[in-house]
């Protein structure tokens, strides 16, 4: 089962990379605000059903993929085509 994990800097955490990108976008003439940079992790999870896969990916996030002190995460599961 395909899973996508989005890891983001938590709200209120300073994100200097986001700020740098935002200022570059402004220099290019775009009117933008609040740029934040995170990361995407695509995974193929070997699990019997979506619930099991989600539990596994949550454990991955807590243990390794995100640092809960500064990052939040979201998990998206792609259902296999019927």
């Amino acid at each position: 089962m395909k899973a996508t994990v989005l890891v983001r800097p938590k709200q209120g955490i300073l994100d200097p990379q986001g700020q740098a990108v935002e200022s570059s976008l402004r220099q290019l003439g775009f009117s933008v605000d609040g740029a934040r940079i995170g990361r995407v992790v695509d995974l193929e999870v070997d699990a019997a059903d979506a619930a099991t896969a989600r539990t596994q990916v949550e454990q991955m996030c807590e243990q390794l993929l995100a640092n809960p002190l500064i990052e939040s995460y979201e998990i998206e599961l792609a259902e296999p085509p019927a």
């Binding site: 955490i13 300073l14 200097p16 990379q17 740098a20 390794l64 993929l65 640092n67 002190l69 500064i70």
Partner: protein, 231 residues
């Protein structure tokens, strides 16, 4: 009669680069310094452990995030929980934070640039195994070289940490955006320390400063006392 030599282990992770300097500095300061490979599941008989600087596992994902799961790190966590002295330098500090042995996390420098220069540091505590040879309020000059030394902990965590006096070293000037200019912290028990500056690069006046030797010889002295006590 020569004083007994304590044995200090220097962990080697793939991507480390300051392991040899740490080994050399500790040997020069009269310790028997030995390498410990990251795949070891048990530590040899050691009186202290040093996690050196570098870019373990290429700093992939987050710095220190992969190294914390190295087999040798399980042994280090056990060693620390048993009261053993553990010093993490730069990447070693990042690993100790990721492993939960030290509070906080090291983030990208606020400037987004790599910082590589000698920095002044104020010693705030001398009752730790890592600073017994320093004086309180003393300013040490020790180099930093890192892209991710911006130490962060949330408001509550920070207040607790300052109240418990877990900050051992503070930058005398802003260096990387680190919260309250924290350069080095200890755990609550005081046997595990992490710092971003590199004392192993400052053990001889020829290198610009010998102030780092005050810290590493503090560790060697503490390790020796521990060694003597257990013989």
């Amino acid at each position: 009669m020569t004083s007994p030599q304590p044995r200090v282990g220097v962990l080697r992770f793939p991507g480390a680069c300051d392991d040899r300097d740490a080994l050399w500095a500790l040997s020069a300061l009269d310790a028997e310094a030995v390498f410990v490979w990251h795949t070891e599941t048990e530590l040899p008989d050691l009186d202290a452990v040093v996690l050196p600087g570098g870019f373990s596992y290429g700093d992939y994902l987050r710095c220190g995030a992969i190294a914390r799961f190295a087999p040798a790190m399980e042994a280090v966590v056990e060693y620390a929980n048993a009261g053993g002295f553990v010093l993490g330098i730069c990447n070693g500090f990042q690993i100790l934070c990721e492993a939960g042995l030290l509070p906080g996390v090291l983030r990208r420098n606020e400037s987004l640039t790599f910082v590589c220069r000698d920095v002044p540091l104020v010693v705030e505590r001398t009752d730790t195994p890592f600073t017994v040879r320093c004086e309180e309020g003393q300013t040490l000059t020790i180099p930093v070289k890192h892209g991710e030394g911006n130490w962060y902990v949330d408001d509550d965590g920070h207040a607790e940490l300052e109240a418990r006096r877990q900050v051992v070293l503070r930058y005398a000037e802003p260096v990387n955006g680190s919260r309250n200019d924290v350069a080095g912290v200890v755990n609550e028990r005081g046997n595990v320390m992490g710092l971003m500056p590199h004392p192993e690069h400052a053990v001889d006046p020829l290198l610009g400063s010998a102030d780092g030797a005050l810290m590493l010889s503090s560790l060697v002295e503490s390790a020796r006392a521990r060694f003597v006590a257990t013989v």
